[in-house]
């Protein structure tokens, strides 16, 4: 074997590499945990774990300062697989170590799959109002809905990223272009007073409620219990010129804005990105139990009716803490509630095709560790017994 390849192999199968990677991983996890105070849990995951390098910005130049989760995890995976292929011997003494590391490989792969495949949404249900879609926690969409036919809505959805870039959007279903005039990643709206202070610039909106509303841009929030409410002024330009400028905002309290064009009726709105489901859920009753004489929550539960349009499923389910509903590849958790409103429940909806992988991985690893340390323990006890057997 040529010297170079041997060196290469020795590098990848060495325990030294394992130890170095583990230490790097530990430092990465520690730094990421501390940075959660500044960035919040989501941004930290992107910056530290779902990246090859942790980047720091010096001015506008991103500089890699530390290996990221994919880098360390990937190398660790190579190191693990390589050294097992290289040193593999099927003996009982090694079986514990072998099982543990197979489990670890699975766990790392599972985490990778989860990172790539997992989607999670929130679902806010009002009592007795059926709902067949969930909403994203972070992403938003601009929608233009053709509501001319009362039997169905024809929805054109534009992702927030497209809205953020100010180029014009043209869609075959729409007889007009959408031009973003201004975009704010986070904002607050408030009603303009009846009599405005002199010198206040008029609203940039010429249509809809935007004319009566003042928009205040806000900094982007990373807090776990807050979400950004983006807003934009969008102009619709038809073949015969501008239809006007609307203010759209993802603020869930706002209604869709309706307008007529070329004999058809449309609605325009910005909203939390929706995903439609092949079934509908209806909240029958939400319960929020507290301990006697306190405000300490004891349990939250939602009694829900699950129904599919084909009538295959029509049943009641109870979702409560530590007891989610798993249905059609999705898992529904009791996530939150609206203080003071017992007619609303908020569920978290997760799609994670690889959710079983960690369970299998962990079983393997636990078994492996028990075997491995069990062998040590038996050997240790045996060694201590031996000298005692001699006459004192």
């Amino acid at each position: 074997m040529p010297e170079l390849i041997r060196q290469f192999r020795d590098f990848f199968v060495s325990l030294r590499l394992t130890v170095v990677l583990l230490v790097l991983g530990m430092v990465l996890v520690f730094a990421a945990t501390l940075d959660q105070v500044n960035l919040g849990i989501w941004a930290v995951q992107e910056k530290y774990f779902r990246s090859f390098f942790v980047l720091w910005r010096f001015g506008d130049v991103p500089v890699p300062v530390f290996p990221g989760g994919y880098f360390i995890g990937g190398l660790l995976l190579i190191n693990l697989v390589a050294s097992h292929l290289y040193r593999f011997k099927l003996t009982f003494r090694k079986s514990g170590i072998f099982l543990t590391h197979i489990g670890l490989i699975l766990l790392l792969l599972g985490e990778l799959f989860t990172g790539v495949l997992q989607e999670d949404y929130s679902m806010r249900l009002e009592q007795n109002v059926p709902k067949n879609y969930s909403e994203s926690f972070r992403e938003n969409e601009l929608v233009v809905i053709d509501v001319t036919d009362p039997k169905f809505d024809d929805v054109v959805s534009v992702p927030e990223e497209r809205v953020a870039h100010t180029d014009a959007i043209q869609h075959p279903k729409l007889p007009f272009r959408i031009v973003t005039k201004e975009y704010y990643p986070n904002s607050a709206l408030q009603a303009r007073p009846e009599t405005e202070a002199p010198g206040t610039p008029p609203s940039k909106a010429t249509q809809g409620f935007g004319q009566r509303v003042r928009l205040t841009p806000l900094p982007i929030t990373y807090k776990q219990n807050e979400r950004n409410i983006p807003a934009a002024y969008v102009e619709l330009i038809g073949s015969a010129g501008s239809l006007g400028t609307w203010l759209v905002s993802a603020d869930p309290r706002l209604p869709n804005q309706r307008f007529e064009h070329a004999g058809r009726t449309y609605e325009i709105a910005m909203r939390f990105l929706r995903t439609y489901k092949p079934f509908e859920l209806t909240l029958l009753k939400f319960s929020h139990d507290r301990y006697a004489g306190t405000e300490i929550p004891k349990n939250f539960s939602s009694n829900i009716r699950l129904k599919t349009p084909d009538g295959q499923d029509d049943r009641e389910v109870l979702i409560y803490m530590n007891n989610p509903l798993r249905y059609s590849g999705l898992t529904f958790y009791q996530a939150s509630f609206e203080p003071g409103n017992d007619k609303v429940t908020i569920l978290q909806v997760v799609r994670n095709p690889s959710w079983l992988v960690p369970y299998i991985a962990c079983t393997l690893m636990t078994l492996g560790l028990v075997i491995q340390f069990g062998i040590h323990l038996v050997a240790f006890v045996g060694k201590r017994r031996a000298p005692r057997a001699l006459p004192a």
Binding site: A32, T33, G293, P297, N322, Y333, R384
Partner: protein, 656 residues
Amino acid sequence: MKKLIPLLVLAATVLYVARTLMPVKEASAFKVAAFGELPVLVNGRVKPLDTVARSSLLQLQGRQRVSTPLVSEPLVATPSEWLLEVVFRPEKADTFPTFQIDNPDLLALIGKTEDDIKIKYEKTALKVLSVFGFVPSHFRRFSLQELTPHIRTIQEQAKLADPIEAAVRTPFQRAVMQLYGNLVHYQRLRHALVAPGRTDFLGDLLKFQDNVVAGVAAVRAKQAGQEHDAALVATMTEIGESFVIMAESTNLLVVPPDADNNDPTAWKPAGAALLETFRTGRVNSTALAYAGLAHAWRNNQPEQFNKLIELYRAEIGKRLEPQLAKVGAEKRFNVAQPFYSSMTLYAIALFVGLFSWLLWADVLGRSAFWITLVAWIVATGGIAMRMWIEGRPPVTNLYSSALFVGWGAVGLCVILEQIYRNAIGSVAAGVIGFSTLLIAHHLSLSGDTMEMMRAVLDSNFWLATHVIVVTAGYSATFLAGFLGIIYVLRGVLTRSLDSATADALTRMVYGIICFATLFSFVGTILGGIWADQSWGRFWGWDPKENGALIIVIWNAVILHARWGGMIKQRGLMNLAIGGNIVTSWSWFGTNMLGVGLHSYGFTDAAFVALSGFVASQIVIIAVGCLPFSLWRSFNRRPAASPAHPGAAGASVASGS
């Protein structure tokens, strides 16, 4: 003789513990202990009034004893007696110094200067002692009477601090919020049983009972615009208002559910029960009983007091028997204070164990073992008692995790000591047992340690699996770290670390790290599964999860470095000490970040303690890195030891 002395020590230790289980003699003719056993529902749990008294005192002033530095006798004999004074004779209780204030800015706010709070001892001996901190040099606790003129200012400052997030408050803001919370807490106690402003509440209630039917009729007549007895209406309104104030000012639900009510949680505040009189026409018997107790207490009538408690107990006993059994047991548990006895014994075991390395190794070593064992059994009993009272697995909050970490580590030490018999197990047990119980004591200052579990944590299955296993992982990692410290300090500072002991320590540390790896890994994984069950993700990079992960990685680093020959005996020890840093950060540091789903146990002052601990561990690791020529155990002259200095060093460096 060698066998006899350890057995005598064992007997003395058992006697010491047995003494704490004996009933305490009453200081006066009043059966104060029986009062402390009466049940009350607070924060979702039925508990004895004694628990309320003790946790209140800990919260208000950081200790259960009520006293002033200038008088050697305590002001009240027991916490229950203090509570009696607060509820029945507030004019006296208001003069007790029970509000602890340490923040200098807050002291200034209530008009205390350095000169005001300096204690001026008469005796020279006390003066000298105070300089060295053996007796307090400053007043730290103040009475409500002293605070009353400043209540408005305190309230204003608290209002300013209130909207600020707890994590970013300044020390002054935190101190103000705490003092304000304590004042509110005190008010709640005062309004729990009788209306505080009235000198003869029993007389008022009896009069009220006689007039209530006519009174209600008079009020109705007034509302209907008919002729009515204006004086009677005024009396009714006035006493009704005082009931409303009572009902709204307290969170102590002292009136048990009515006999015909099947809901075991339907307890009421005394004020609410009294308000029902307007509807029922009969004053609630519990409220009346407490008014009677107040009367007897104020007028120094012990016979009536004792008789009334007996009657009241008998009346509620019929309905509440199973609950009362627990309440009574909790009272006795409070009085016995098993964790304080255990803490004392651990400290003694530590010193006996340390001395055994210098002289009489066998006698002192065995004695230390017995003391450790008794202390551990006492702690076991205490933990078991808490589990029974709460109906929960042992670890439910930060406080009980401290108890359990200590318990687990000492349990391992007992096993190690039984195998190796070299007092290392006892010394490690002494240090870890004592310090974890000390940590637990500080954590208990925030109130009752048996809290109700918030919704997502309300799962005995996961508390019994994930939490227990992960905490056992903490125990083991700490134990390995403390064994490492023993290795380094004995090796560097004394000549007592011979190679047999060093090898034994190495095997112990290695074995314990294997155990720690297994438990912290399995515990972390179980946590992931719980998270998947309740939050929809197996792993969310939450600070507490990351903390647990770091412990697992650290243990894996140690094992791989050892298998790969990168570290030998000394490296193993130094890395094991590093495990202390990692574990303490994961246990407490992550809670201080103030983010994440797990941050349910937050304490401020702990930050200083944590930093100090981490610094001390770094220093010990640095000491452990000194060249072997500076280690007293390894640099023996050839004359003193048959081993060549180089050989000794080499044998250590090459490991076992």
